[in-house]
Amino acid sequence: MSEATHAHAVHRDDFGARLGMWLFLVTEMVLFGGLFIAYSYMRSKYPAEFHHAGAELNATLGITNTLVLLTSSLTVVLAIVAIQRGDKRKTMAFLATTLGLGLVFLVIKSFEWATKFHHGLYPNSAHLATLPHGEQVFFGLYFTMTGLHGLHVIAGLSVLGYMLRMVAKGEITQDRYVHLENGGLYWHLVDVIWIFLLPLFYLAA
């Protein structure tokens, strides 16, 4: 009885998988959305302090990291085009490029934070306590939001690293690549969040 049905027992629902991923991404959007609302309120309360504190940030590093992340998003979506065409070699090359660019982002970010720490700017530092209240709020939001985003970059890199392994082992193929699509969706959301962080902290403050 069970032998005959065994071959048909594998349930597959790619749309359901993508819907599930999107529902998770929606919770992420609300998580960061709450922080964006907090930023907007604090900025309207302390416009001068936000302007002054924002000038401390290195816009060149912020812009460079934007270009790095945008390009890494492109290579993920190109990896999906490649797997749709059954080109395993290109899929792996594009994914490896994304992983490399994600690491570049983290290295730049760590240099940026290290400079801030060097200037005595880190959560609960003695120097920070001497600054006006509005600037303390600015750096609080800066470390919270870019830090939470950084954790998402690390999570995304782990997911995409695993996807690369799955492609290599032939577990992601031309006719079954929903894992790669969902991993890519996560990475693009991380990119979208950074698209908002750049002007909020580096340009318009």
Partner: protein
């Protein structure tokens, strides 16, 4: 939904539409880079330009990523609806907060 036995490589998968090629996404990436350049340029003309750049260009950039890179263009009404309802909810929270702040 779609007949898999008839699916050619271009029609593989369950999207039911032809998959876009490399070129489409490279063009979208170029647009994103140009918009980023414009955003940076606007921020050099002073605070109010920077804020307008943020309010206009950033949602366009996010929209391009959602629509093309995240394949929303090729998804059905349900997935599009899920995203729109979320953005609408955030907008309502935003409006509620600032309607309170503005009249203090």
């Amino acid at each position: 939904m779609s007949d898999h036995s008839l699916a050619s490589p271009e029609h593989a998968g369950d999207h039911g539409v032809e998959h876009p090629g490399y070129g489409t996404f490279v063009k979208v990436w170029l647009a994103l880079v140009v918009l980023t350049g414009l955003l940076v340029l606007m921020s050099h003309f002073g605070q109010s330009f920077a804020v307008w750049g943020l309010l206009i260009l950033t949602p366009i950039k996010a929209g391009l990523v959602f629509y093309f890179f995240m394949h929303l263009k090729y998804e059905g009404a349900l997935l599009k609806g899920v995203v729109l309802v979320t953005l609408g909810t955030l907008l309502i929270f935003f409006a509620l907060l600032f309607s309170d702040v503005a009249f203090r």
